[in-house]
Subunit: 348 residues, 2 copies
């Protein structure tokens, strides 16, 4: 038995399809008699009718679909996210979208980094892009005449809406905290520093803090790789190999902080006694970790909520570029200890 269509409803109610359409969409411009309305709803009920949104979008030119692009955490990895940050963010996006009558079309980036095809194929009403991508693939998005919200990237663009945090400030807060706690040799552990990504800003913040304490950047303290637990774990050995005797580390993601701690533990180091660690994000994990992580807290859920709201606003005709910088704060937990700045000892 085929799905009931609007025609079936019209027939059952003894009216025309347009009348059914009016009733369904509560068009105030057309006024339908209470009686007719009644009969239509009855038919809808008995036929168990559900409108076909694809057909609707053909005429109405809106799909009530929001495209979401989540990055692969690591270039080589097949799957999108091992970083729970994305799960938390996605949850918030999904929930907010659904509450507003939108559905989510989820996608990882195509191998060629182009999402434009999918978006055009499906005629999404808006796109939320998480993370940073090659400028080229972003510029393709201009072809689409749909609102685009960029989450956590620093591309300069006159039309894309953006939402993020002050990553540089975050880097500053994190590093300053370590400095205030007496640390002077501070490792910077992160994924690679890309032009428009958040890492670069966090790195600038790291340097800002050093400046505040009249310290020069020492490149030997930089440990750059990928944003993954595994890489961070390996950094522990690298720290020993280099012999820089760091007493603290700023890891630019909680999972990296955790990886680092795990790596150190394997070498029989204790946290925070042998090395203090500050990380970034404050995913649920940060609290779960042991010791719980001192980290830069950002409101991940709010990021998702705002992203959706920006799409909605734009869809409602709000044409100006929207920008939002969410607040962050240092969460002091258990992974940092105070030391005497003059002491010469370090874990390595």
């Amino acid at each position: 038995m085929r799905r009931a269509s609007i025609k079936d409803v019209a027939k059952a109610a003894g009216v025309s399809t347009s009348t059914v359409s009016y009733v369904l969409n509560q068009k105030s411009s057309e006024s339908i008699s209470a009686q007719t309305t009644q009969r239509v709803w009855e038919a809808v009920r008995t036929l168990n009718y559900v409108p076909n949104l694809n057909a609707r979008s053909l005429t109405s030119r809106r799909t009530n679909l929001i495209g979401v692009v989540i990055p692969q955490t690591e270039p080589g990895k097949e799957f999108m996210f091992s970083n729970p940050f994305y799960g938390e963010l996605l949850s918030a996006i999904e929930y907010t979208a659904r509450r507003n009558g939108y559905h989510l079309l989820l996608s990882g980036p195509e191998p060629d980094q182009s999402y434009v095809g999918i978006a055009r194929n499906r005629g999404v009403d808006g796109i939320i892009i998480v993370g940073s991508y090659p400028t080229k693939s972003l510029s393709e998005l201009h072809q689409l005449s749909v609102p685009v919200v960029l989450v956590d990237t620093y591309v300069k663009d006159p039309v894309f809406h953006t939402i993020g945090i002050d990553d540089r400030l975050g880097g500053l807060l994190a590093t300053r905290h370590l400095l205030e706690m007496g640390h002077r040799r501070i490792a910077f552990v992160s994924g690679s520093i890309s032009e428009q990504g958040v890492t670069q800003k966090r790195f600038l913040g790291y340097m800002d803090a050093l400046s505040e304490f009249s310290l020069a950047l020492d490149e030997r303290h930089l440990y750059l790789g990928s944003v993954s637990f595994e890489f961070a774990q390996s950094v522990a050995q690298e720290m020993e190999r280099r012999g820089n005797r760091e007493t603290a580390a700023f890891a630019t993601a909680d999972i990296m902080g955790m990886g680092l701690i795990k790596g150190l533990r394997h070498m029989n180091r204790t946290i925070p006694d042998d090395l203090s660690v500050v990380s970034f994000d404050d995913v649920d994990l940060a609290r779960m970790s042991d010791p719980s992580l001192t980290t830069i807290h950002q409101d991940i859920a709010q990021k998702g909520i705002s992203a959706v709201e920006m799409i909605l606003a734009a869809a409602d005709g709000h044409k100006e570029k929207q920008e939002s910088i969410l607040p962050i704060q240092l969460m002091v937990r258990d992974s940092v200890r105070r030391i005497d700045p003059n002491q010469e000892s370090g874990a390595f």
Copy 2:
């Protein structure tokens, strides 16, 4: 400037729309001259044409859309998943779907637990449902004539495809390991035991293991709440309160194992010295945890891959019910220690 439609392409190429359609869909039944084909592709390129999948689905009756329903981890929680298990699973689903030309329509369950509306609205080609839901809302899915894959649930149904693991065996392996390591008073820490959920099976496995060692179930060792880090953390105190002097615990999810460990640490207990812990899932976190978790490994990515493959097979006309039970194994890591079964001491 409006998006180019098939008509524009036809005009530009000097052919009819059907010819364009044939070329686009590589219909082997219709043979188009090389020359025409050439001209069509040229027009497609210059006009930057992308077919409208919504319109296509109107006639072709397939949307190349797979609906995915991910549960809210906790009833009260607004957002879907704090358990990274879902992130890992979703990643695999998304990747596999995309490789096969399908896109994902993501949704949490509606407040009324009904997903049927969305699925019908959008005309998805298949649905993947993760976790267990009220039988009632599942039975509504029968109305849809699309393949449904149920992941991790034990509802008996003649048409829904299922994929899962032998949770009972998992419970057995976990608990047996603890018994073999000399433990006798073993806490069972889990979310509530629901009829068709995985927890119940894991619980049965727990009892199976006790039987193997001729031990009776002692209900005082049961700690039931929600599948969350927080609840598990609180169990630590509850264990002390009850004073059962357990020497080990079987937690039915890694995040619970981690929560429990964290809770115990807060009470200055050491893992595994004061309490041995075995958990379940082997999410990335399990390795990241410290001590790393001895846990029941399941291939989360494969679960997602298989789920999508089942949909594809069904869409290709494979009508029989498909069932898949993926292998599991005990991963021995660092959260369990061997004790003398006769010793009377315990953490509490």
